[in-house]
């Protein structure tokens, strides 16, 4: 056989082998064999990363939610237990005191939950870092001299021109602290405050409530403002319009009542 006849002889190879050699794409298969496992590994890694990240986020949310629930429960307990003893509520942190007074009661509607703050217009100046504690619902308090003096600026004198002795009682109504000043006069002791409060409430859309109760001897006036957290943020921050914490000190008046005063809580 001559050399070049071998090439001719190869023509007689089984056609199936020729067809197979023509159709196969080994490079593509080789690439797929390399790329597919790599892509699979990458997908698994990304999946694990996503799961870990999601798990971490959900854990953080759960922890935050749990912390919120614990805080709400503590506040509710503090508000409930506080009615038994005024002195037992002493605390150094004003933020905690504010929360314990103004946080909504669990089980409220969504609208009621927004109403977290009460704003009173009894003027005083901030005093922080003291041992005061929030006024306890149902308690009877005497006003501090500065608070009384601030009230007198609004002409809160009795019909004889004498300084009125105020007694403040506090009620808790649907999570909102209600300050009830008690006076012997027939007129609301803070006429300017009332006017200003009505104007402000109308502008801001704040729910307010003035009430007067006369028992034949004394007239009881009350002002209650329900201010949502959002309204509170947009509310002008000033000593006049800021929100106040009514706090009770450990001092007692001549009748043995804790002396109440107000602490301003605001940005200024």
């Amino acid at each position: 056989m001559r050399k070049n006849e071998l090439l001719n002889a190869m023509e007689g190879i089984v056609p199936e082998l020729i067809t197979e050699a023509e159709r196969e794409k080994p490079a593509l298969k080789r690439i797929l064999r390399t790329v597919v496992p790599a892509a699979a590994c990458l997908c698994v890694a990304l999946g694990i990363f996503a799961v870990v990240k999601l798990h971490t986020k959900s854990s953080e949310n759960a922890a935050a939610q749990q912390a919120g629930e614990i805080q709400t429960m503590q506040e509710a307990n503090a508000a409930t237990n506080g009615s038994n003893s005024v002195d037992a509520q002493a605390t150094d942190n004003i933020e905690d005191e504010r929360s314990s007074v103004f946080e909504p009661i669990a089980g409220e509607t969504d609208e009621a939950k927004d109403m977290k703050r009460v704003r009173t217009f009894i003027t005083d100046y901030p005093r922080r870092g003291s041992t005061e504690h929030p006024l306890i619902p149902g308690g009877q308090y005497a006003l501090s001299p500065t608070l009384r003096a601030a009230m007198n600026e609004y002409g809160a004198l009795d019909e004889y021109g004498n300084e009125i002795t105020y007694i403040v009682s506090v009620e808790l109504y649907e999570g909102v602290c209600q300050l009830v000043p008690v006076t012997a006069g027939e007129h609301f002791p803070f006429p300017n405050v009332e006017e200003e409060a009505v104007r402000l409430c109308n502008e801001e859309g704040i729910i307010y409530e003035f009430s007067r109760y006369y028992d034949g001897e004394n007239t009881t006036w009350s002002l209650r403002l329900d201010i949502t957290a959002k309204q509170l943020e947009s509310f002008p921050a000033s000593p006049r319009y800021g929100y106040w914490l009514m706090l009770a000190s450990e001092e007692l008046d001549d009748y043995g009542r804790p002396i109440a005063h107000a602490v301003f809580e605001g940005d200024n």
Partner: protein
């Protein structure tokens, strides 16, 4: 095919069996369908050996003519491509031998294949050549798919070593090594089959 892609629609190639039916019915559409389906591959085989586009195209057309003459009596319903490729390969080798300018690639392949040649005179008639082809088929069937593919791409389709390396995603040196070992294995196999080297 090119026109089909340019016009934005893909023309579905006809099944081999139907193309053969057209040949058997002496319908000239058979040639057009064959060209549409396998024309580029056939030209590629011819060009790999001749290295001239015009000659390769002539070989392709000649292959269609040969196929027109060979079908019938042949009916390559299951292996039309192999049938056509064998024709174009044969024509290309003949033309390459006649033209000294294009014989370089053929000489290279011949020299490589000479390593596993049986002794002169052992396959002088066509019957012996057929037996040799059958023996080579048996040898290739026993090889792995990759080795078989490399061998056929080199000595049947006339692909160059770099082309084979690119097709299989391997290095050129590996292709050369594989071919060298397969030639030696084929030589040994043919010796065992009774062909004297």
């Amino acid at each position: 095919m090119v026109k089909a892609f340019i016009s934005g629609r893909k023309v579905r190639n006809m099944d081999d069996n139907r193309i053969v039916e057209l040949y058997l019915a002496r319908d000239e559409a058979a040639i057009a369908e064959t060209r549409r389906k396998y024309g580029s591959k056939l030209r590629k085989i011819s060009y790999a050996l001749i290295r001239d586009h015009a000659y390769a195209e002539e070989c392709e057309y000649e292959a269609y003519y040969e196929a027109w003459k060979l079908i019938p009596p042949n009916e390559p319903r299951e292996y039309l491509f192999a049938f056509m490729a064998r024709i174009v390969r044969h024509i290309s080798i003949d033309r390459c031998r006649k033209n000294s300018k294009t014989a370089a690639a053929l000489c290279e392949l011949t020299e490589e294949m000479a390593q596993c040649l049986p002794s002169p005179g052992s396959a002088e008639d066509g019957a012996a050549e057929g037996e040799l082809a059958a023996s080579i088929s048996v040898f290739l069937s026993a090889c792995t798919k990759e080795k078989r593919g490399i061998f056929l791409r080199r000595y049947w389709f006339f692909d160059s070593v770099p082309q084979i390396a690119a097709r299989y995603g391997i290095t050129k040196s590996k292709v050369k090594t594989t071919l060298f070992r397969m030639r030696n294995d084929l030589k040994e196999f043919l010796r065992k089959e009774g062909y004297s080297i």
